[in-house]
Amino acid sequence: MEVSLQPAAHTTGRLRDRLSFRDFGRKWKNRGMRLLLLVMAIAAIAPLLSVFIYVFQQGGSSLNWSFFSEVPVPVGETGGGMLNAWVGTVTIVLMASVVGIPWGIAAGIYLSEYGKGKLGNVLRFATDILTSVPSIIIGLFAYAIIVVPLKRFSAHAGAAALAVIMVPFVTRTTEELLKLVPNHVREAGLALGLPRWKVVLWIVLRGSAGGIMTGVMLAVARVAGETAPLLFTAFGNRFLSLSLDQPMATLPVQIYTYAISPYEEWHRQAWAGAFVLVIFVFTLNLFTRLIMARRR
Protein backbone atom coordinates (compact mmCIF):
# COMPACT_ATOMS: atom_id res chain seq x y z
CA MET A 1 0.00 0.00 0.00
CA GLU A 2 2.79 2.36 0.88
CA VAL A 3 4.10 1.78 -2.60
CA SER A 4 1.82 4.44 -4.02
CA LEU A 5 3.48 7.01 -1.79
CA GLN A 6 6.55 6.69 -3.97
CA PRO A 7 6.81 9.53 -6.44
CA ALA A 8 6.75 8.21 -9.97
CA ALA A 9 7.40 10.02 -13.21
CA HIS A 10 6.23 7.49 -15.76
CA THR A 11 5.17 3.89 -15.93
CA THR A 12 8.50 2.12 -16.17
CA GLY A 13 9.96 4.32 -13.49
CA ARG A 14 7.04 3.57 -11.21
CA LEU A 15 7.50 -0.15 -11.64
CA ARG A 16 11.18 0.13 -10.87
CA ASP A 17 10.56 2.26 -7.84
CA ARG A 18 7.93 -0.10 -6.56
CA LEU A 19 10.23 -3.08 -6.86
CA SER A 20 13.14 -1.34 -5.25
CA PHE A 21 10.96 -0.19 -2.39
CA ARG A 22 9.71 -3.70 -1.72
CA ASP A 23 13.21 -5.08 -2.06
CA PHE A 24 14.37 -2.46 0.36
CA GLY A 25 11.94 -3.84 2.97
CA ARG A 26 12.90 -7.43 2.25
CA LYS A 27 16.57 -6.63 2.44
CA TRP A 28 16.21 -5.02 5.83
CA LYS A 29 13.98 -7.77 7.10
CA ASN A 30 16.62 -10.23 5.97
CA ARG A 31 19.35 -8.32 7.79
CA GLY A 32 17.20 -7.92 10.89
CA MET A 33 16.31 -11.59 11.12
CA ARG A 34 19.89 -12.71 10.53
CA LEU A 35 21.00 -10.40 13.29
CA LEU A 36 18.25 -11.80 15.54
CA LEU A 37 19.45 -15.36 14.91
CA LEU A 38 22.99 -14.30 15.80
CA VAL A 39 21.73 -12.67 19.00
CA MET A 40 19.84 -15.87 19.90
CA ALA A 41 22.96 -17.94 19.32
CA ILE A 42 24.93 -15.67 21.62
CA ALA A 43 22.12 -15.80 24.20
CA ALA A 44 22.36 -19.60 24.18
CA ILE A 45 26.09 -19.55 24.85
CA ALA A 46 26.15 -16.70 27.38
CA PRO A 47 24.92 -18.76 30.37
CA LEU A 48 27.58 -21.39 29.67
CA LEU A 49 30.28 -18.77 29.78
CA SER A 50 28.87 -17.33 32.99
CA VAL A 51 28.70 -20.75 34.65
CA PHE A 52 32.21 -21.46 33.46
CA ILE A 53 33.67 -18.21 34.69
CA TYR A 54 32.11 -18.52 38.13
CA VAL A 55 32.95 -22.19 38.60
CA PHE A 56 36.55 -21.60 37.61
CA GLN A 57 36.95 -18.35 39.53
CA GLN A 58 35.16 -19.28 42.74
CA GLY A 59 36.01 -22.96 42.60
CA GLY A 60 39.60 -22.59 41.49
CA SER A 61 40.39 -20.07 44.20
CA SER A 62 38.74 -22.23 46.90
CA LEU A 63 40.47 -25.41 45.87
CA ASN A 64 43.46 -26.56 47.87
CA TRP A 65 45.10 -29.77 48.86
CA SER A 66 43.07 -30.22 52.03
CA PHE A 67 39.93 -30.30 49.88
CA PHE A 68 41.05 -33.74 48.71
CA SER A 69 42.75 -34.95 51.86
CA GLU A 70 40.51 -33.92 54.76
CA VAL A 71 36.99 -34.64 55.92
CA PRO A 72 34.64 -31.77 56.84
CA VAL A 73 35.32 -29.92 60.08
CA PRO A 74 32.51 -28.82 62.43
CA VAL A 75 30.56 -25.69 61.48
CA GLY A 76 32.35 -22.47 62.44
CA GLU A 77 35.87 -23.79 61.95
CA THR A 78 37.67 -23.03 58.73
CA GLY A 79 39.49 -25.70 56.76
CA GLY A 80 38.50 -29.27 56.13
CA GLY A 81 37.65 -30.76 52.77
CA MET A 82 35.54 -33.24 50.90
CA LEU A 83 37.62 -36.39 51.18
CA ASN A 84 34.53 -38.31 52.28
CA ALA A 85 32.52 -37.03 49.32
CA TRP A 86 34.88 -37.74 46.46
CA VAL A 87 35.77 -41.16 47.86
CA GLY A 88 32.05 -41.85 48.17
CA THR A 89 31.32 -40.76 44.61
CA VAL A 90 34.12 -42.93 43.24
CA THR A 91 32.91 -45.92 45.27
CA ILE A 92 29.25 -45.58 44.36
CA VAL A 93 29.90 -44.88 40.67
CA LEU A 94 32.22 -47.90 40.52
CA MET A 95 29.59 -50.11 42.14
CA ALA A 96 26.92 -48.83 39.76
CA SER A 97 29.22 -49.40 36.77
CA VAL A 98 30.04 -52.97 37.78
CA VAL A 99 26.33 -53.79 37.66
CA GLY A 100 24.98 -51.37 35.09
CA ILE A 101 27.56 -51.64 32.31
CA PRO A 102 27.56 -55.43 31.71
CA TRP A 103 23.79 -55.50 32.12
CA GLY A 104 23.34 -52.74 29.57
CA ILE A 105 25.85 -54.20 27.12
CA ALA A 106 24.21 -57.63 27.29
CA ALA A 107 20.77 -56.15 26.68
CA GLY A 108 22.23 -54.14 23.79
CA ILE A 109 23.69 -57.30 22.25
CA TYR A 110 20.31 -58.97 22.51
CA LEU A 111 18.65 -56.03 20.74
CA SER A 112 21.09 -55.92 17.88
CA GLU A 113 21.61 -59.66 17.34
CA TYR A 114 18.26 -61.21 18.28
CA GLY A 115 16.04 -58.17 18.71
CA LYS A 116 13.75 -58.54 15.68
CA GLY A 117 10.97 -60.33 17.51
CA LYS A 118 8.33 -59.29 19.99
CA LEU A 119 10.61 -59.40 23.03
CA GLY A 120 13.06 -57.12 21.24
CA ASN A 121 10.37 -54.55 20.58
CA VAL A 122 9.13 -54.66 24.14
CA LEU A 123 12.70 -54.27 25.39
CA ARG A 124 13.28 -51.31 23.07
CA PHE A 125 10.11 -49.71 24.38
CA ALA A 126 11.13 -50.38 28.00
CA THR A 127 14.58 -48.82 27.56
CA ASP A 128 13.00 -45.78 25.91
CA ILE A 129 10.71 -45.31 28.88
CA LEU A 130 13.50 -45.90 31.40
CA THR A 131 15.61 -43.21 29.70
CA SER A 132 12.79 -40.71 30.00
CA VAL A 133 11.92 -41.40 33.66
CA PRO A 134 13.05 -38.45 35.82
CA SER A 135 16.04 -39.52 37.91
CA ILE A 136 14.39 -38.60 41.20
CA ILE A 137 11.76 -41.27 40.53
CA ILE A 138 14.50 -43.85 40.09
CA GLY A 139 15.65 -42.71 43.52
CA LEU A 140 12.18 -43.45 44.91
CA PHE A 141 12.38 -46.92 43.38
CA ALA A 142 15.80 -47.64 44.92
CA TYR A 143 14.44 -46.36 48.22
CA ALA A 144 11.53 -48.78 48.01
CA ILE A 145 13.56 -51.87 47.12
CA ILE A 146 16.66 -51.32 49.29
CA VAL A 147 16.24 -48.63 51.94
CA VAL A 148 12.83 -49.83 53.14
CA PRO A 149 13.76 -53.49 53.75
CA LEU A 150 17.19 -52.65 55.26
CA LYS A 151 15.66 -49.80 57.25
CA ARG A 152 18.57 -47.45 56.63
CA PHE A 153 20.20 -45.35 53.92
CA SER A 154 23.16 -47.08 52.33
CA ALA A 155 25.75 -46.90 49.58
CA HIS A 156 24.10 -50.00 48.08
CA ALA A 157 20.86 -48.12 47.52
CA GLY A 158 22.65 -45.18 45.90
CA ALA A 159 24.59 -47.48 43.59
CA ALA A 160 21.41 -49.34 42.67
CA ALA A 161 19.72 -46.09 41.65
CA LEU A 162 22.68 -45.05 39.51
CA ALA A 163 22.89 -48.50 37.92
CA VAL A 164 19.22 -48.30 36.90
CA ILE A 165 19.96 -44.94 35.27
CA MET A 166 22.96 -46.38 33.40
CA VAL A 167 21.33 -49.52 31.98
CA PRO A 168 19.05 -47.98 29.31
CA PHE A 169 21.80 -45.60 28.15
CA VAL A 170 24.37 -48.34 27.72
CA THR A 171 21.77 -50.60 26.09
CA ARG A 172 20.86 -48.10 23.38
CA THR A 173 24.48 -47.12 22.69
CA THR A 174 25.52 -50.76 22.38
CA GLU A 175 22.61 -51.59 20.09
CA GLU A 176 23.31 -48.65 17.81
CA LEU A 177 27.02 -49.42 17.56
CA LEU A 178 26.58 -53.15 16.96
CA LYS A 179 24.05 -52.41 14.22
CA LEU A 180 26.75 -50.49 12.40
CA VAL A 181 28.73 -53.72 11.98
CA PRO A 182 27.84 -54.90 8.46
CA ASN A 183 26.12 -58.25 8.23
CA HIS A 184 28.72 -59.76 5.93
CA VAL A 185 31.16 -59.63 8.82
CA ARG A 186 28.86 -61.88 10.84
CA GLU A 187 28.31 -64.11 7.82
CA ALA A 188 32.04 -64.43 7.26
CA GLY A 189 32.46 -65.63 10.82
CA LEU A 190 29.58 -68.08 10.55
CA ALA A 191 30.89 -69.33 7.22
CA LEU A 192 34.16 -70.21 8.90
CA GLY A 193 32.16 -72.51 11.13
CA LEU A 194 32.36 -70.42 14.26
CA PRO A 195 29.42 -70.79 16.63
CA ARG A 196 27.24 -67.75 16.75
CA TRP A 197 28.13 -66.75 20.29
CA LYS A 198 31.79 -66.61 19.36
CA VAL A 199 30.99 -64.53 16.28
CA VAL A 200 29.03 -62.10 18.42
CA LEU A 201 31.51 -61.83 21.26
CA TRP A 202 34.86 -62.15 19.48
CA ILE A 203 34.07 -60.44 16.18
CA VAL A 204 31.06 -58.14 16.43
CA LEU A 205 31.47 -56.94 20.00
CA ARG A 206 35.23 -56.74 19.90
CA GLY A 207 35.18 -54.75 16.72
CA SER A 208 32.95 -52.14 18.32
CA ALA A 209 34.68 -52.14 21.70
CA GLY A 210 36.12 -48.65 21.23
CA GLY A 211 32.76 -47.13 20.38
CA ILE A 212 31.04 -48.89 23.25
CA MET A 213 33.75 -47.65 25.61
CA THR A 214 32.98 -44.05 24.65
CA GLY A 215 29.28 -44.64 25.23
CA VAL A 216 30.07 -46.17 28.62
CA MET A 217 32.25 -43.21 29.58
CA LEU A 218 29.44 -40.80 28.72
CA ALA A 219 27.10 -42.83 30.90
CA VAL A 220 29.62 -42.71 33.76
CA ALA A 221 30.02 -38.95 33.34
CA ARG A 222 26.27 -38.58 33.50
CA VAL A 223 25.67 -40.57 36.66
CA ALA A 224 28.70 -39.10 38.43
CA GLY A 225 26.90 -35.75 38.47
CA GLU A 226 23.51 -37.14 39.53
CA THR A 227 22.22 -35.72 42.79
CA ALA A 228 18.49 -36.30 43.00
CA PRO A 229 18.48 -40.11 43.15
CA LEU A 230 21.14 -40.10 45.89
CA LEU A 231 19.40 -37.74 48.31
CA PHE A 232 17.40 -40.44 50.03
CA THR A 233 19.39 -43.52 49.04
CA ALA A 234 23.09 -42.92 49.76
CA PHE A 235 22.01 -39.90 51.81
CA GLY A 236 25.30 -38.44 53.01
CA ASN A 237 27.86 -38.82 55.74
CA ARG A 238 30.04 -36.32 57.52
CA PHE A 239 32.78 -38.89 58.01
CA LEU A 240 34.84 -40.98 55.66
CA SER A 241 32.99 -44.25 55.39
CA LEU A 242 33.75 -47.27 53.29
CA SER A 243 31.09 -49.62 54.64
CA LEU A 244 28.64 -50.19 51.86
CA ASP A 245 25.63 -50.80 54.07
CA GLN A 246 25.97 -47.40 55.73
CA PRO A 247 25.07 -43.94 54.47
CA MET A 248 27.81 -42.55 52.24
CA ALA A 249 28.66 -39.01 51.20
CA THR A 250 28.85 -38.12 47.51
CA LEU A 251 30.21 -35.04 45.81
CA PRO A 252 26.95 -33.83 44.21
CA VAL A 253 24.88 -34.30 47.37
CA GLN A 254 27.52 -32.56 49.47
CA ILE A 255 27.62 -29.65 47.01
CA TYR A 256 23.84 -29.40 47.34
CA THR A 257 23.90 -29.51 51.15
CA TYR A 258 26.65 -26.92 51.34
CA ALA A 259 25.07 -24.64 48.74
CA ILE A 260 21.76 -24.32 50.61
CA SER A 261 23.49 -23.88 53.98
CA PRO A 262 23.92 -20.40 55.48
CA TYR A 263 27.70 -20.70 56.06
CA GLU A 264 30.18 -18.74 53.99
CA GLU A 265 32.87 -21.39 54.46
CA TRP A 266 30.58 -24.12 53.16
CA HIS A 267 29.68 -22.07 50.08
CA ARG A 268 33.38 -21.82 49.30
CA GLN A 269 33.68 -25.60 49.58
CA ALA A 270 30.60 -26.08 47.40
CA TRP A 271 32.24 -24.05 44.62
CA ALA A 272 35.42 -26.09 44.97
CA GLY A 273 33.34 -29.27 44.72
CA ALA A 274 31.54 -27.97 41.64
CA PHE A 275 34.91 -27.16 40.08
CA VAL A 276 36.14 -30.72 40.60
CA LEU A 277 32.88 -32.21 39.31
CA VAL A 278 32.81 -30.02 36.19
CA ILE A 279 36.45 -30.79 35.40
CA PHE A 280 35.79 -34.51 35.77
CA VAL A 281 32.68 -34.51 33.59
CA PHE A 282 34.25 -32.31 30.93
CA THR A 283 37.40 -34.39 30.77
CA LEU A 284 35.36 -37.52 30.12
CA ASN A 285 33.30 -35.71 27.48
CA LEU A 286 36.33 -34.25 25.72
CA PHE A 287 38.11 -37.57 25.83
CA THR A 288 35.23 -39.40 24.15
CA ARG A 289 35.03 -36.64 21.57
CA LEU A 290 38.71 -36.99 20.76
CA ILE A 291 38.34 -40.74 20.36
CA MET A 292 35.33 -40.35 18.11
CA ALA A 293 37.01 -37.65 16.03
CA ARG A 294 40.03 -39.85 15.51
CA ARG A 295 37.92 -42.81 14.42
CA ARG A 296 36.31 -40.76 11.67
Binding site: A41, Y54, G115, P134, I137, W197, K198, G225, R289
Partner: protein
Protein backbone atom coordinates in the same frame (compact mmCIF):
# COMPACT_ATOMS: atom_id res chain seq x y z
CA UNK B 1 17.32 -50.79 0.44
CA UNK B 2 20.71 -52.38 0.86
CA UNK B 3 19.89 -52.94 4.50
CA UNK B 4 16.77 -54.92 3.61
CA UNK B 5 18.80 -57.16 1.31
CA UNK B 6 21.38 -57.74 4.00
CA UNK B 7 18.69 -58.70 6.47
CA UNK B 8 17.20 -61.18 4.04
CA UNK B 9 20.56 -62.78 3.48
CA UNK B 10 21.19 -63.16 7.17
CA UNK B 11 17.76 -64.65 7.62
CA UNK B 12 18.43 -67.28 5.03
CA UNK B 13 21.59 -68.10 6.92
CA UNK B 14 19.57 -68.57 10.09
CA UNK B 15 16.66 -70.44 8.58
CA UNK B 16 18.66 -72.41 6.05
CA UNK B 17 19.35 -76.12 6.10
CA UNK B 18 20.92 -75.83 9.56
CA UNK B 19 18.64 -77.72 11.93
CA UNK B 20 18.20 -76.95 15.59
CA UNK B 21 20.02 -80.14 16.50
CA UNK B 22 23.12 -78.96 14.67
CA UNK B 23 23.31 -75.76 16.66
CA UNK B 24 26.09 -75.47 19.11
CA UNK B 25 25.10 -75.97 22.71
CA UNK B 26 27.02 -72.77 23.43
CA UNK B 27 24.77 -70.89 21.05
CA UNK B 28 21.67 -71.99 22.85
CA UNK B 29 23.13 -71.11 26.26
CA UNK B 30 24.26 -67.73 24.93
CA UNK B 31 20.85 -67.02 23.48
CA UNK B 32 19.02 -67.91 26.68
CA UNK B 33 21.36 -65.84 28.82
CA UNK B 34 20.79 -62.80 26.61
CA UNK B 35 17.08 -63.47 26.61
CA UNK B 36 17.16 -63.54 30.39
CA UNK B 37 18.98 -60.22 30.49
CA UNK B 38 16.51 -58.69 28.05
CA UNK B 39 13.59 -59.90 30.16
CA UNK B 40 15.24 -58.56 33.30
CA UNK B 41 15.40 -55.01 31.90
CA UNK B 42 11.68 -55.22 31.08
CA UNK B 43 10.99 -56.58 34.58
CA UNK B 44 13.01 -53.68 35.98
CA UNK B 45 10.58 -51.22 34.45
CA UNK B 46 7.63 -53.29 35.62
CA UNK B 47 9.05 -53.40 39.17
CA UNK B 48 9.65 -49.65 39.10
CA UNK B 49 6.03 -48.99 38.19
CA UNK B 50 4.74 -51.53 40.70
CA UNK B 51 6.78 -50.24 43.63
CA UNK B 52 5.87 -46.66 42.85
CA UNK B 53 2.21 -47.70 42.97
CA UNK B 54 2.70 -49.57 46.20
CA UNK B 55 4.42 -46.64 47.87
CA UNK B 56 1.64 -44.28 46.93
CA UNK B 57 -1.38 -46.46 47.77
CA UNK B 58 -1.86 -45.10 51.34
CA UNK B 59 -1.98 -41.51 50.08
CA UNK B 60 -4.61 -42.25 47.45
CA UNK B 61 -6.58 -44.33 49.97
CA UNK B 62 -6.63 -41.45 52.44
CA UNK B 63 -7.20 -38.52 50.13
CA UNK B 64 -8.74 -40.15 47.07
CA UNK B 65 -8.54 -38.64 43.62
CA UNK B 66 -8.94 -35.22 45.23
CA UNK B 67 -5.23 -35.55 46.09
CA UNK B 68 -4.41 -34.34 42.59
CA UNK B 69 -6.38 -31.12 42.81
CA UNK B 70 -6.32 -30.29 46.50
CA UNK B 71 -4.31 -27.16 47.18
CA UNK B 72 -3.38 -27.86 50.77
CA UNK B 73 -0.04 -29.42 51.65
CA UNK B 74 0.53 -29.41 55.36
CA UNK B 75 2.94 -31.93 56.91
CA UNK B 76 2.06 -30.76 60.45
CA UNK B 77 -1.66 -31.47 60.26
CA UNK B 78 -0.97 -34.32 57.79
CA UNK B 79 -3.24 -33.02 55.06
CA UNK B 80 -1.74 -33.49 51.62
CA UNK B 81 -2.70 -32.43 48.11
CA UNK B 82 -0.52 -32.17 45.01
CA UNK B 83 -2.20 -29.11 43.51
CA UNK B 84 0.54 -26.55 44.23
CA UNK B 85 3.22 -28.81 42.80
CA UNK B 86 1.34 -29.62 39.64
CA UNK B 87 0.83 -25.89 39.16
CA UNK B 88 4.52 -25.25 39.87
CA UNK B 89 5.69 -27.91 37.43
CA UNK B 90 3.38 -26.74 34.65
CA UNK B 91 4.16 -23.04 35.05
CA UNK B 92 7.93 -23.40 35.45
CA UNK B 93 8.13 -25.74 32.44
CA UNK B 94 5.99 -23.50 30.25
CA UNK B 95 8.02 -20.48 31.28
CA UNK B 96 11.18 -22.38 30.40
CA UNK B 97 9.72 -23.27 27.00
CA UNK B 98 8.73 -19.64 26.30
CA UNK B 99 12.33 -18.57 26.86
CA UNK B 100 14.10 -21.58 25.44
CA UNK B 101 12.20 -22.26 22.21
CA UNK B 102 13.08 -18.99 20.42
CA UNK B 103 16.67 -19.23 21.62
CA UNK B 104 17.03 -22.88 20.62
CA UNK B 105 15.49 -22.26 17.22
CA UNK B 106 17.71 -19.23 16.76
CA UNK B 107 20.90 -21.01 17.68
CA UNK B 108 20.18 -24.11 15.60
CA UNK B 109 19.16 -22.05 12.55
CA UNK B 110 22.20 -19.84 12.94
CA UNK B 111 24.57 -22.78 13.24
CA UNK B 112 22.96 -24.73 10.42
CA UNK B 113 22.15 -22.04 7.87
CA UNK B 114 24.25 -18.96 8.48
CA UNK B 115 27.46 -19.54 10.40
CA UNK B 116 30.70 -20.46 8.65
CA UNK B 117 31.62 -24.08 9.35
CA UNK B 118 34.39 -23.46 11.84
CA UNK B 119 32.31 -21.10 13.96
CA UNK B 120 29.35 -23.48 13.75
CA UNK B 121 31.48 -26.37 14.99
CA UNK B 122 32.85 -24.43 17.94
CA UNK B 123 29.51 -23.00 18.98
CA UNK B 124 27.77 -26.33 18.50
CA UNK B 125 30.34 -27.91 20.77
CA UNK B 126 29.77 -25.23 23.43
CA UNK B 127 26.01 -25.74 23.32
CA UNK B 128 26.50 -29.48 23.74
CA UNK B 129 28.73 -28.84 26.73
CA UNK B 130 25.82 -27.03 28.35
CA UNK B 131 24.11 -30.39 28.48
CA UNK B 132 27.08 -32.04 30.20
CA UNK B 133 27.14 -29.74 33.22
CA UNK B 134 25.56 -31.52 36.21
CA UNK B 135 22.25 -30.17 37.43
CA UNK B 136 23.61 -29.39 40.90
CA UNK B 137 26.20 -27.04 39.41
CA UNK B 138 23.45 -25.11 37.65
CA UNK B 139 21.69 -24.93 41.00
CA UNK B 140 24.80 -23.56 42.72
CA UNK B 141 25.21 -20.99 39.97
CA UNK B 142 21.51 -20.20 40.23
CA UNK B 143 21.70 -19.51 43.96
CA UNK B 144 24.82 -17.36 43.95
CA UNK B 145 24.82 -15.69 40.53
CA UNK B 146 21.40 -15.81 38.87
CA UNK B 147 19.16 -15.16 41.88
CA UNK B 148 21.07 -12.09 43.16
CA UNK B 149 21.12 -10.68 39.63
CA UNK B 150 17.36 -11.20 39.32
CA UNK B 151 16.77 -9.62 42.73
CA UNK B 152 18.86 -6.51 42.18
CA UNK B 153 18.46 -5.89 38.46
CA UNK B 154 15.89 -7.83 36.51
CA UNK B 155 12.93 -8.04 38.86
CA UNK B 156 12.89 -4.35 39.90
CA UNK B 157 13.10 -3.43 36.22
CA UNK B 158 10.30 -5.83 35.23
CA UNK B 159 8.21 -4.61 38.17
CA UNK B 160 8.65 -1.00 37.14
CA UNK B 161 7.91 -1.59 33.45
CA UNK B 162 5.28 -4.33 33.51
CA UNK B 163 4.10 -3.95 37.10
CA UNK B 164 0.49 -3.59 35.97
CA UNK B 165 0.51 -7.28 34.93
CA UNK B 166 -0.08 -9.55 37.98
CA UNK B 167 2.72 -11.84 36.78
CA UNK B 168 5.32 -9.21 37.64
CA UNK B 169 3.99 -7.93 40.94
CA UNK B 170 5.28 -8.48 44.43
CA UNK B 171 8.60 -8.08 46.19
CA UNK B 172 11.73 -9.23 44.34
CA UNK B 173 13.07 -12.28 46.19
CA UNK B 174 15.46 -13.48 43.51
CA UNK B 175 14.67 -17.13 44.14
CA UNK B 176 11.25 -18.15 42.86
CA UNK B 177 9.35 -19.18 39.77
CA UNK B 178 11.20 -16.82 37.44
CA UNK B 179 14.62 -18.11 38.52
CA UNK B 180 13.43 -21.71 38.12
CA UNK B 181 12.07 -20.98 34.65
CA UNK B 182 15.33 -19.36 33.59
CA UNK B 183 17.55 -22.17 34.88
CA UNK B 184 15.27 -24.73 33.23
CA UNK B 185 15.40 -22.76 29.98
CA UNK B 186 19.20 -22.90 30.04
CA UNK B 187 19.13 -26.62 30.76
CA UNK B 188 16.70 -27.62 28.00
CA UNK B 189 18.20 -25.41 25.29
CA UNK B 190 20.83 -28.02 24.31
CA UNK B 191 18.13 -30.72 24.09
CA UNK B 192 15.81 -28.73 21.86
CA UNK B 193 18.52 -27.25 19.67
CA UNK B 194 20.23 -30.62 19.16
CA UNK B 195 17.02 -32.19 17.85
CA UNK B 196 16.18 -29.12 15.75
CA UNK B 197 19.64 -29.26 14.19
CA UNK B 198 19.09 -32.90 13.20
CA UNK B 199 15.73 -32.04 11.71
CA UNK B 200 17.16 -29.12 9.72
CA UNK B 201 20.04 -31.23 8.51
CA UNK B 202 17.61 -33.80 7.14
CA UNK B 203 16.08 -31.20 4.80
CA UNK B 204 17.63 -31.70 1.37
CA UNK B 205 19.68 -28.80 -0.01
CA UNK B 206 17.69 -28.62 -3.23
CA UNK B 207 14.78 -27.23 -1.23
CA UNK B 208 16.94 -24.36 -0.09
CA UNK B 209 18.38 -23.89 -3.57
CA UNK B 210 14.88 -23.78 -5.03
CA UNK B 211 13.81 -20.81 -2.96
CA UNK B 212 17.13 -19.02 -3.40
CA UNK B 213 16.83 -19.52 -7.15
CA UNK B 214 13.42 -17.87 -7.06
CA UNK B 215 15.09 -14.79 -5.64
CA UNK B 216 14.38 -15.30 -1.96
CA UNK B 217 16.62 -13.60 0.57
CA UNK B 218 18.46 -15.73 3.07
CA UNK B 219 15.78 -15.18 5.71
CA UNK B 220 12.94 -15.88 3.27
CA UNK B 221 14.73 -19.08 2.31
CA UNK B 222 15.07 -20.08 5.99
CA UNK B 223 11.45 -19.23 6.63
CA UNK B 224 9.99 -20.99 3.60
CA UNK B 225 12.25 -23.94 3.02
CA UNK B 226 13.56 -24.74 6.48
CA UNK B 227 11.11 -23.69 9.18
CA UNK B 228 7.97 -24.55 7.25
CA UNK B 229 9.29 -27.95 6.23
CA UNK B 230 10.53 -28.81 9.72
CA UNK B 231 7.43 -27.71 11.62
CA UNK B 232 6.44 -31.07 13.07
CA UNK B 233 10.05 -31.97 13.85
CA UNK B 234 10.36 -28.73 15.79
CA UNK B 235 7.16 -29.59 17.63
CA UNK B 236 8.62 -32.97 18.62
CA UNK B 237 11.77 -31.28 19.89
CA UNK B 238 9.73 -28.83 21.93
CA UNK B 239 7.68 -31.61 23.53
CA UNK B 240 10.85 -33.55 24.42
CA UNK B 241 12.24 -30.36 25.96
CA UNK B 242 9.04 -30.03 27.96
CA UNK B 243 9.50 -33.58 29.22
CA UNK B 244 13.02 -32.79 30.36
CA UNK B 245 11.94 -29.59 32.07
CA UNK B 246 9.21 -31.35 34.04
CA UNK B 247 11.53 -34.04 35.38
CA UNK B 248 14.45 -31.76 36.20
CA UNK B 249 14.99 -31.73 39.93
CA UNK B 250 18.10 -30.36 41.59
CA UNK B 251 18.60 -27.00 39.91
CA UNK B 252 14.91 -26.22 40.35
CA UNK B 253 14.89 -27.27 44.00
CA UNK B 254 17.77 -24.92 44.68
CA UNK B 255 16.34 -21.78 43.06
CA UNK B 256 12.54 -22.05 43.26
CA UNK B 257 12.26 -21.09 46.93
CA UNK B 258 10.28 -24.17 47.99
CA UNK B 259 6.92 -22.95 49.18
CA UNK B 260 3.82 -25.07 48.66
CA UNK B 261 1.53 -22.26 47.64
CA UNK B 262 0.09 -21.01 44.39
CA UNK B 263 0.93 -17.40 43.62
CA UNK B 264 0.21 -15.83 40.27
CA UNK B 265 3.35 -13.69 40.48
CA UNK B 266 6.47 -15.10 38.86
CA UNK B 267 8.59 -13.44 41.53
CA UNK B 268 7.05 -15.55 44.31
CA UNK B 269 8.60 -18.78 45.57
CA UNK B 270 6.87 -21.98 44.48
CA UNK B 271 7.55 -25.71 44.32
CA UNK B 272 7.42 -28.37 41.61
CA UNK B 273 6.55 -32.07 41.78
CA UNK B 274 10.18 -33.08 41.52
CA UNK B 275 11.47 -30.44 43.91
CA UNK B 276 9.08 -31.28 46.74
CA UNK B 277 10.24 -34.91 46.65
CA UNK B 278 13.90 -33.87 46.71
CA UNK B 279 13.24 -31.40 49.47
CA UNK B 280 11.13 -33.42 51.88
CA UNK B 281 11.54 -37.15 51.23
CA UNK B 282 14.68 -37.75 53.30
CA UNK B 283 13.23 -35.84 56.25
CA UNK B 284 9.63 -37.01 56.12
CA UNK B 285 8.82 -39.03 59.22
CA UNK B 286 5.16 -40.01 59.04
CA UNK B 287 4.04 -42.82 56.76
CA UNK B 288 1.35 -40.73 55.12
CA UNK B 289 3.83 -37.94 54.33
CA UNK B 290 6.19 -40.40 52.62
CA UNK B 291 3.32 -41.96 50.75
CA UNK B 292 2.00 -38.59 49.60
CA UNK B 293 5.43 -37.70 48.26
CA UNK B 294 5.55 -41.03 46.42
CA UNK B 295 2.09 -40.27 45.01
CA UNK B 296 3.45 -36.98 43.70
CA UNK B 297 6.27 -39.02 42.16
CA UNK B 298 3.80 -41.41 40.56
CA UNK B 299 1.89 -38.51 39.02
CA UNK B 300 5.16 -37.09 37.67
CA UNK B 301 6.04 -40.52 36.25
CA UNK B 302 2.71 -40.81 34.45
CA UNK B 303 2.95 -37.26 33.09
CA UNK B 304 6.48 -37.77 31.80
CA UNK B 305 5.36 -41.03 30.13
CA UNK B 306 2.53 -39.24 28.37
CA UNK B 307 4.76 -36.37 27.25
CA UNK B 308 7.37 -38.71 25.85
CA UNK B 309 4.78 -40.85 24.11
CA UNK B 310 3.40 -37.70 22.52
CA UNK B 311 6.85 -36.57 21.37
CA UNK B 312 7.57 -39.99 19.95
CA UNK B 313 4.24 -40.01 18.14
CA UNK B 314 4.96 -36.64 16.53
CA UNK B 315 8.52 -37.54 15.55
CA UNK B 316 7.46 -40.97 14.31
CA UNK B 317 4.78 -39.45 12.12
CA UNK B 318 7.36 -37.14 10.59
CA UNK B 319 9.72 -40.05 10.02
CA UNK B 320 7.18 -42.21 8.26
CA UNK B 321 5.99 -39.30 6.16
CA UNK B 322 9.45 -38.32 5.03
CA UNK B 323 10.20 -41.99 4.35
CA UNK B 324 7.14 -42.11 2.15
CA UNK B 325 8.21 -38.93 0.40
CA UNK B 326 11.64 -40.38 -0.27
CA UNK B 327 10.28 -43.41 -2.08
Amino acid sequence: MSKAVALEVSQTVEAGPVKKRDLHLGDRVFFWILRGVATSVILLLAALTLYLFRLSIPAFQTFGAKFLISLEWNPVSEVFGAGPFIYGTVVSSLLALCISVPVSLGVSLFLNELAPKKLADTMGFLVEMLAAIPSVVYGLWGIFVLAPWLRTTVQPLLGKTFGFIPLFQGPPFGVGMLAAGLVLAIMITPTISAICKEVFRAIPDHQREASLALGATRWEMIHMSVIQTARSGILGAVILGLGRAMGETMAVTMVIGNRAEIDISLFAPAQTMASVIANEYAEASSQIHLSSLAAVGLSLFVVSLLINAMARFVVHRVDSRSAKAAH
